[in-house]
Symmetry: C2
Subunit: 136 residues, 2 copies
Protein backbone atom coordinates (compact mmCIF):
# COMPACT_ATOMS: atom_id res chain seq x y z
CA UNK A 1 0.00 0.00 0.00
CA UNK A 2 1.27 3.45 -0.88
CA UNK A 3 1.92 5.65 2.15
CA UNK A 4 3.64 9.02 1.84
CA UNK A 5 6.98 9.20 3.65
CA UNK A 6 6.72 11.00 6.99
CA UNK A 7 9.42 13.54 6.26
CA UNK A 8 7.82 14.46 2.93
CA UNK A 9 4.50 14.85 4.77
CA UNK A 10 6.07 17.20 7.31
CA UNK A 11 7.99 19.34 4.81
CA UNK A 12 5.22 19.85 2.26
CA UNK A 13 1.55 20.67 1.68
CA UNK A 14 -0.62 18.70 -0.75
CA UNK A 15 -1.48 20.47 -4.01
CA UNK A 16 -3.38 17.75 -5.90
CA UNK A 17 -3.17 14.22 -7.27
CA UNK A 18 -2.44 13.51 -10.93
CA UNK A 19 -2.84 10.12 -12.63
CA UNK A 20 0.41 8.76 -11.22
CA UNK A 21 1.82 11.31 -8.81
CA UNK A 22 0.85 13.20 -5.71
CA UNK A 23 1.89 16.83 -6.20
CA UNK A 24 3.28 18.47 -3.07
CA UNK A 25 4.46 22.02 -2.41
CA UNK A 26 7.64 22.36 -0.37
CA UNK A 27 7.07 24.71 2.56
CA UNK A 28 9.76 27.14 1.41
CA UNK A 29 8.35 30.40 0.12
CA UNK A 30 11.69 31.53 -1.30
CA UNK A 31 11.55 29.18 -4.30
CA UNK A 32 8.58 27.67 -6.17
CA UNK A 33 9.29 24.05 -5.36
CA UNK A 34 7.03 21.12 -6.22
CA UNK A 35 7.62 17.48 -5.34
CA UNK A 36 6.02 14.71 -7.38
CA UNK A 37 5.62 11.35 -5.66
CA UNK A 38 4.52 8.37 -7.79
CA UNK A 39 1.76 6.69 -5.79
CA UNK A 40 3.38 3.29 -5.89
CA UNK A 41 4.58 1.37 -2.85
CA UNK A 42 8.19 0.34 -2.34
CA UNK A 43 9.75 2.25 -5.26
CA UNK A 44 13.13 3.96 -4.75
CA UNK A 45 14.44 4.46 -8.26
CA UNK A 46 12.91 5.70 -11.51
CA UNK A 47 13.93 2.48 -13.29
CA UNK A 48 11.90 0.44 -10.78
CA UNK A 49 8.66 1.88 -12.15
CA UNK A 50 7.06 0.01 -15.04
CA UNK A 51 7.90 1.48 -18.46
CA UNK A 52 4.37 2.84 -18.89
CA UNK A 53 4.50 4.50 -15.47
CA UNK A 54 7.83 6.14 -16.35
CA UNK A 55 6.25 7.72 -19.39
CA UNK A 56 3.38 9.10 -17.31
CA UNK A 57 5.94 10.37 -14.80
CA UNK A 58 7.79 12.22 -17.56
CA UNK A 59 4.60 13.89 -18.75
CA UNK A 60 3.62 14.87 -15.19
CA UNK A 61 7.10 16.36 -14.63
CA UNK A 62 6.71 18.38 -17.85
CA UNK A 63 3.24 19.46 -16.73
CA UNK A 64 4.53 20.59 -13.33
CA UNK A 65 7.34 22.50 -15.05
CA UNK A 66 4.84 24.36 -17.23
CA UNK A 67 2.64 25.17 -14.21
CA UNK A 68 5.65 26.70 -12.42
CA UNK A 69 6.63 28.56 -15.57
CA UNK A 70 3.11 29.97 -16.00
CA UNK A 71 2.68 31.12 -12.40
CA UNK A 72 6.18 32.22 -11.41
CA UNK A 73 8.06 32.91 -14.66
CA UNK A 74 11.41 31.55 -13.41
CA UNK A 75 14.73 31.86 -15.27
CA UNK A 76 15.22 28.06 -15.26
CA UNK A 77 13.49 24.88 -14.19
CA UNK A 78 15.54 22.43 -12.13
CA UNK A 79 14.43 18.80 -12.02
CA UNK A 80 15.93 16.26 -9.68
CA UNK A 81 15.51 12.80 -8.26
CA UNK A 82 17.98 12.37 -5.40
CA UNK A 83 16.56 10.33 -2.53
CA UNK A 84 19.78 10.14 -0.55
CA UNK A 85 17.88 11.16 2.59
CA UNK A 86 14.24 10.20 1.84
CA UNK A 87 14.32 6.85 0.03
CA UNK A 88 10.73 6.92 -1.31
CA UNK A 89 10.93 7.92 -4.98
CA UNK A 90 10.12 11.61 -5.37
CA UNK A 91 11.01 14.16 -8.04
CA UNK A 92 11.75 17.80 -7.38
CA UNK A 93 10.55 20.36 -9.93
CA UNK A 94 11.83 23.78 -8.94
CA UNK A 95 11.61 27.22 -10.46
CA UNK A 96 14.97 28.93 -10.21
CA UNK A 97 15.81 32.63 -10.37
CA UNK A 98 19.15 34.31 -10.91
CA UNK A 99 18.41 36.14 -7.66
CA UNK A 100 17.54 33.14 -5.47
CA UNK A 101 19.60 32.05 -2.48
CA UNK A 102 21.46 29.22 -4.18
CA UNK A 103 21.85 30.33 -7.82
CA UNK A 104 23.65 28.96 -9.80
CA UNK A 105 24.13 26.05 -7.40
CA UNK A 106 21.41 23.53 -6.56
CA UNK A 107 18.86 24.43 -3.85
CA UNK A 108 19.25 21.02 -2.22
CA UNK A 109 21.54 21.43 0.75
CA UNK A 110 21.72 25.20 0.28
CA UNK A 111 20.46 26.03 3.74
CA UNK A 112 17.17 26.86 5.37
CA UNK A 113 14.16 27.94 3.40
CA UNK A 114 11.72 30.69 4.32
CA UNK A 115 8.40 29.49 5.81
CA UNK A 116 5.16 30.56 4.13
CA UNK A 117 2.68 32.69 6.07
CA UNK A 118 -0.65 30.88 6.56
CA UNK A 119 -2.29 33.10 3.94
CA UNK A 120 0.67 32.83 1.57
CA UNK A 121 0.55 29.05 1.68
CA UNK A 122 -3.21 28.93 1.10
CA UNK A 123 -2.95 31.37 -1.79
CA UNK A 124 -0.10 29.41 -3.39
CA UNK A 125 -1.94 26.10 -3.07
CA UNK A 126 -5.06 27.60 -4.62
CA UNK A 127 -3.16 29.06 -7.60
CA UNK A 128 -1.26 25.83 -8.16
CA UNK A 129 -4.40 23.65 -7.97
CA UNK A 130 -6.14 25.88 -10.48
CA UNK A 131 -3.15 25.81 -12.83
CA UNK A 132 -2.96 21.99 -12.70
CA UNK A 133 -6.68 21.76 -13.43
CA UNK A 134 -6.22 24.08 -16.40
CA UNK A 135 -3.28 22.05 -17.72
CA UNK A 136 -5.09 18.69 -17.80
CA UNK B 1 22.26 22.28 -36.05
CA UNK B 2 23.12 20.47 -32.84
CA UNK B 3 26.52 21.39 -31.43
CA UNK B 4 27.64 20.21 -28.00
CA UNK B 5 28.21 23.05 -25.52
CA UNK B 6 31.91 23.87 -25.13
CA UNK B 7 31.98 23.45 -21.36
CA UNK B 8 30.33 20.03 -21.59
CA UNK B 9 32.92 19.08 -24.23
CA UNK B 10 35.76 20.13 -21.93
CA UNK B 11 34.43 18.45 -18.78
CA UNK B 12 33.50 15.09 -20.28
CA UNK B 13 34.52 12.24 -22.58
CA UNK B 14 32.14 10.70 -25.13
CA UNK B 15 30.80 7.24 -24.27
CA UNK B 16 28.36 6.63 -27.13
CA UNK B 17 25.27 7.97 -28.89
CA UNK B 18 21.79 6.56 -28.24
CA UNK B 19 18.71 7.28 -30.37
CA UNK B 20 18.15 10.71 -28.81
CA UNK B 21 21.06 11.48 -26.51
CA UNK B 22 24.81 11.70 -26.58
CA UNK B 23 26.13 9.90 -23.52
CA UNK B 24 29.09 11.61 -21.87
CA UNK B 25 31.25 10.61 -18.91
CA UNK B 26 32.13 13.41 -16.50
CA UNK B 27 35.88 13.50 -15.95
CA UNK B 28 35.57 12.88 -12.21
CA UNK B 29 36.76 9.45 -11.17
CA UNK B 30 35.33 9.79 -7.66
CA UNK B 31 31.71 9.27 -8.75
CA UNK B 32 30.25 7.36 -11.73
CA UNK B 33 28.68 10.35 -13.47
CA UNK B 34 27.04 10.25 -16.88
CA UNK B 35 25.56 13.21 -18.74
CA UNK B 36 22.87 12.68 -21.38
CA UNK B 37 22.48 15.43 -23.96
CA UNK B 38 19.48 15.26 -26.32
CA UNK B 39 20.91 15.92 -29.79
CA UNK B 40 18.49 18.72 -30.57
CA UNK B 41 19.49 22.32 -31.19
CA UNK B 42 18.28 25.21 -29.05
CA UNK B 43 16.62 23.20 -26.26
CA UNK B 44 17.01 24.39 -22.66
CA UNK B 45 14.15 22.72 -20.82
CA UNK B 46 12.71 19.18 -20.82
CA UNK B 47 9.26 20.55 -21.71
CA UNK B 48 10.66 22.11 -24.89
CA UNK B 49 11.30 18.66 -26.37
CA UNK B 50 8.46 17.10 -28.34
CA UNK B 51 6.34 14.68 -26.31
CA UNK B 52 7.75 11.67 -28.19
CA UNK B 53 11.30 12.84 -27.58
CA UNK B 54 10.59 13.21 -23.86
CA UNK B 55 9.53 9.59 -23.69
CA UNK B 56 12.72 8.47 -25.43
CA UNK B 57 14.67 10.67 -23.01
CA UNK B 58 13.01 8.97 -20.04
CA UNK B 59 13.90 5.53 -21.38
CA UNK B 60 17.51 6.57 -22.05
CA UNK B 61 17.78 7.95 -18.51
CA UNK B 62 16.48 4.65 -17.13
CA UNK B 63 18.93 2.76 -19.36
CA UNK B 64 21.86 4.89 -18.16
CA UNK B 65 20.77 4.31 -14.56
CA UNK B 66 20.79 0.55 -15.07
CA UNK B 67 24.23 0.68 -16.75
CA UNK B 68 25.63 2.53 -13.72
CA UNK B 69 23.90 0.10 -11.37
CA UNK B 70 25.33 -2.91 -13.23
CA UNK B 71 28.92 -1.64 -13.38
CA UNK B 72 29.32 0.26 -10.11
CA UNK B 73 26.60 -1.05 -7.74
CA UNK B 74 25.90 2.33 -6.13
CA UNK B 75 23.68 2.86 -3.07
CA UNK B 76 21.45 5.31 -4.98
CA UNK B 77 21.03 6.84 -8.41
CA UNK B 78 20.71 10.63 -8.58
CA UNK B 79 19.12 12.18 -11.65
CA UNK B 80 19.13 15.88 -12.35
CA UNK B 81 18.46 18.51 -14.97
CA UNK B 82 19.75 21.84 -13.69
CA UNK B 83 21.29 23.96 -16.44
CA UNK B 84 21.84 27.04 -14.31
CA UNK B 85 25.40 27.29 -15.64
CA UNK B 86 25.31 25.38 -18.96
CA UNK B 87 22.02 26.26 -20.67
CA UNK B 88 22.01 23.43 -23.25
CA UNK B 89 19.62 20.75 -21.97
CA UNK B 90 21.57 17.94 -20.32
CA UNK B 91 20.65 15.36 -17.71
CA UNK B 92 22.96 14.07 -15.03
CA UNK B 93 22.72 10.39 -14.07
CA UNK B 94 25.02 9.73 -11.14
CA UNK B 95 25.78 6.70 -9.01
CA UNK B 96 25.98 7.74 -5.38
CA UNK B 97 27.65 5.98 -2.48
CA UNK B 98 27.22 6.53 1.25
CA UNK B 99 30.98 7.02 1.30
CA UNK B 100 31.29 9.59 -1.51
CA UNK B 101 32.47 13.15 -0.96
CA UNK B 102 29.04 14.78 -0.96
CA UNK B 103 26.69 12.16 0.52
CA UNK B 104 23.87 12.75 1.40
CA UNK B 105 24.02 16.14 -0.33
CA UNK B 106 24.05 16.61 -4.10
CA UNK B 107 27.39 16.30 -5.94
CA UNK B 108 26.67 19.47 -7.93
CA UNK B 109 28.58 22.29 -6.30
CA UNK B 110 30.26 19.93 -3.81
CA UNK B 111 33.79 20.82 -4.82
CA UNK B 112 36.45 19.55 -7.15
CA UNK B 113 36.33 16.06 -8.58
CA UNK B 114 39.26 13.68 -8.96
CA UNK B 115 40.70 13.43 -12.50
CA UNK B 116 40.90 10.01 -14.14
CA UNK B 117 44.27 8.59 -15.08
CA UNK B 118 44.61 8.09 -18.86
CA UNK B 119 44.24 4.33 -18.43
CA UNK B 120 41.40 4.69 -15.94
CA UNK B 121 39.43 6.87 -18.32
CA UNK B 122 39.98 4.50 -21.27
CA UNK B 123 38.98 1.50 -19.17
CA UNK B 124 35.83 3.23 -17.90
CA UNK B 125 34.78 4.33 -21.38
CA UNK B 126 35.26 0.80 -22.69
CA UNK B 127 33.20 -0.78 -19.89
CA UNK B 128 30.44 1.80 -20.29
CA UNK B 129 30.27 1.43 -24.09
CA UNK B 130 30.03 -2.33 -23.74
CA UNK B 131 27.29 -2.05 -21.10
CA UNK B 132 25.24 0.33 -23.29
CA UNK B 133 25.60 -2.05 -26.24
CA UNK B 134 24.42 -4.92 -24.04
CA UNK B 135 21.41 -2.92 -22.79
CA UNK B 136 20.03 -2.03 -26.25
Amino acid sequence: MFVLDQRLTEDTAVVCALNLCSVLLMKDSSVPWLILVPQRAGIREVYELEAGERLVLMEEVARASLVIKAIYGPDKINIGSLGNIVAQLHLHVIGRFRTDRAWPGPVWGSGEGVPYSKEGLEMSLMRLKKAFEGSA
